[in-house]
């Protein structure tokens, strides 16, 4: 088990980080390249960039969703994201791992804050799972990844909490560590291939939506030529 844990914290971790970082980079580059291509092909490529940036800020502001429909789901989701972003990066134990794996380090969150964020992430992760099942609409459209990711993340945070507070559990330290490291690596590897990738692509969304309606002149004629309908009456 020791060997497996070391493998998970060492080579597998480095591999998982590389997959996540390169994968997200690829997604971001593809989005940026797509935007560039759209701008090049559209005849009307004047963009009110200020308005798009403002819409992006508005879209990314989680508070706006608290008063609308699904406000509870939105609050849960926001709290979930806060812990999800901060704890893996700013928890002291993780910083040691980052330093060991990548040779980089930075200041850590106080232990108490990290604990609270961890508990919040566990609770909200499970609550999001329940909320997804509770609301008919989200239940109807959910994919396997939508069901799996929140509890998987909650499991990762739960094992992390138990590892940080060994007195609170009867589980073996090595078992918890193996699960924690294994799930962590799995989540990193899944990042570019699942909806977690939105973290790299979201800033482009409003620009893509704006450009989506900037059509390419003559495209319709080219389409009918390609499909062999040219000259046919409507």
């Amino acid at each position: 088990m020791e060997t497996l844990i070391e493998f998970g914290r060492g080579p597998l971790f480095r591999f998982a980080v590389a997959v996540a970082v390169l994968g997200l980079l690829r997604q971001a580059v593809l989005s940026a390249w797509g935007v560039r291509q759209m701008l090049k092909r559209a005849a009307d490529n004047r963009i009110a960039l200020g308005a798009v940036v403002w819409r992006t800020i508005v879209q990314l502001n989680p508070l706006r969703y608290f008063t609308g429909n699904r406000w509870l789901y939105s609050m849960l989701s926001t709290l979930f994201h806060v812990g999800l972003i901060l704890v893996p990066v700013f928890f002291l134990g993780h910083i040691r791992l980052w330093r060991r794996g990548l040779g980089l380090g930075w200041p850590a969150l106080p232990m108490g804050v990290a604990d609270v964020l961890t508990i919040v992430t566990i609770v909200t992760g499970l609550a999001l799972f329940v909320a997804r099942g509770w609301a008919k609409a989200s239940r109807q459209i959910s994919r396997p990844q939508d069901w799996l990711l929140p509890p998987l993340i909650a499991l990762e945070f739960l094992t992390g909490y138990l590892l940080a507070h060994p007195g609170t559990t009867t589980f073996r330290f090595e078992t918890l560590m193996l699960v924690h490291v294994g799930v962590g690596d799995l989540l990193l590897i899944l990042t570019p291939f699942t909806k977690i990738a939105h973290c790299a692509m979201l800033p482009f969304s409003q620009l893509v939506a704006e450009l989506a309606w900037r059509f390419v002149p003559g495209a319709g004629r080219e389409v009918v030529k390609t499909i062999g309908k040219e000259g046919q009456p409507i």
Partner: protein, 452 residues
């Protein structure tokens, strides 16, 4: 060839699609058209992005008036979008093709095409869902693209098809089939009406060269909305600005927006050509929502000459009031009035305050619907569905359910629905929900209140 589609709602048989492709060839044809569209347009980048960011949070479901009324999972905007994204991923991305080999993901089927044909026309393309999508997915463009692909394989509601065919290939060149002599007769009749009402020579200038504004209302206004037209003419009489109606093209309607980019482009180019022929300076669009959006949004795309400004008549009248050029009698309208925001110009935030400033300048008892403005509910006939008479029951009882509730809650005597499509739909919503109110255009009321 006519083809029976899945019922839109129980007991409403729907036979309103044209279809030219044989059933056995449909999936192949759909993919051929899809591939051609991806090759020549920008949709591929949009699909690529949206297919990666969708989070399936279902916030869009709560925003959609159709889903609110039906609770049917296929009416959830994200679910509808997914139908097209699935085809894109499965057939046009390397990951999708690889996964298909590994997992045996089924290819596109006839049933998928039937489902898309139905679902993309249940959507009113109002884009309300887009406002609340935390991922910024525009389900409106997805509905548009889905309909576009279907239309190039021949699946399109007859009502839209016939209108566009008449506009682009017919003798009259407009969607209502109005010949020029009939237009000229109508205009001179309206001038007589105005003379009788105001004892003034208020003109509808025709083919006047070098006018500031070339006027493109929804052509159906010439048949159905004489008071709106007279109100607009009265406003121009008061301001003294030059304007004209061109006999080469006097139809602002552009159903291409609802289902086909090629027709959208051709119709916009036709408008531009008429402005050039008349040496006009600006395009003035009537109260109609989609006519305004298509001109405003696509003239810059398809105009190859000097820029042409696009102005909506509500913007124009608002400016005239702000400049003190119009006198409107505040005692003319005593009844309670409410205002319906057409999605095609309110959703983007373009025209929201202008009509309200006009209304408040002479109407004392104005009451808002809730929600309104950018968040307003679609009338239920958006996206061209209002043209399809066969689905009136669906439009008014499902698509228009929230609108009927909103209207009833205002207690208004008049509901102003500026857009020509909204006008028809709201009128039918009022009839079918037995609401005690009257539908008007904004320039209807201006005609009642304007003083010289």
């Amino acid at each position: 060839m006519s083809r029976k589609m899945l019922p839109l709602v129980e007991n409403i048989p729907v036979k309103y699609f044209n279809e030219t492709v044989q059933p056995m060839d449909r999936p192949r044809r759909f993919l051929e058209v899809f591939a051609a569209v991806l090759k020549h347009s920008n949709y591929g980048y949009v699909l690529d992005h949206f297919s990666r960011v969708v989070a399936k949070c279902a916030r869009c479901a709560v925003e959609c008036p159709v889903y609110q009324a039906t609770g049917r999972s296929d009416d959830i905007p994200c679910a509808r979008t997914e139908k097209l994204l699935r085809v894109y991923r499965r057939h046009f991305t390397p990951e999708g093709r690889m996964m298909a080999r590994l997992l045996g993901t089924p290819p596109l089927t006839n049933a998928d095409i039937d489902a898309m044909a139905e679902d993309f026309y249940r959507c009113t393309a109002c884009r309300r869902c887009n406002l609340e999508c935390p991922m910024g997915v525009d389900h409106g463009i997805m509905t548009h693209l889905g309909r576009y692909i279907l239309s190039e394989m021949g699946i399109v509601p007859k009502a839209l098809h016939v209108s566009v065919r008449e506009q682009l290939e017919g003798k009259t060149g407009n969607t209502s089939g109005i010949p020029v002599p009939a237009l000229v007769d109508t205009l001179s009749f309206l001038e007589e009406e105005l003379k009788e009402k105001f004892d003034r020579d208020i003109k509808f200038p025709v083919d006047q060269e070098e006018a500031e504004y070339v006027f493109f209302p929804a052509v159906s206004d010439y048949l159905l909305e004489p008071d709106v037209l007279m109100g607009q003419a009265a406003v121009f009489h008061a301001t003294g600005d030059s304007w004209t109606i061109g006999t080469g093209n006097f139809d602002g309607i552009n159903y291409g927006l609802f289902y086909n980019d090629r027709f959208l482009e051709d119709i916009v180019r036709k408008e531009i050509a008429e402005v050039r022929r008349l040496k006009g300076k600006k395009i003035l669009v009537g109260e109609c929502g989609h006519a305004s959006r298509t001109a405003k949004g696509f003239v810059p795309t398809y105009n190859e000459g000097p820029p042409i400004e696009v102005v909506n008549i509500l913007e124009y009248t608002d400016r005239a009031i702000q400049a003190g050029k119009l006198k409107l009698d505040p005692e003319a309208i005593k009844e309670r009035v409410t205002y319906h925001d057409p999605c095609n110009y309110a959703r983007s935030g373009w025209i929201i305050e202008q009509p309200r400033r006009i209304i408040r300048s002479f109407i004392k008892d104005f009451v808002e619907m809730e929600p309104h403005g950018r968040d307003n509910y679609c009338c239920g006939g958006g996206g061209g569905t209002v043209s399809v008479d066969e689905i009136r029951k669906f439009r008014t009882s499902i698509g228009g359910k929230r609108k009927a509730e909103q209207l009833r809650a205002t207690g208004a005597k008049y509901v102003i629905a500026p857009c020509a499509n909204c006008k028809k739909q709201v009128k039918e919503v009022i009839e079918d929900h037995k609401l005690d109110m009257e539908l008007v255009g904004l320039h209807d009321l201006i005609l009642k209140a304007i003083r010289f």
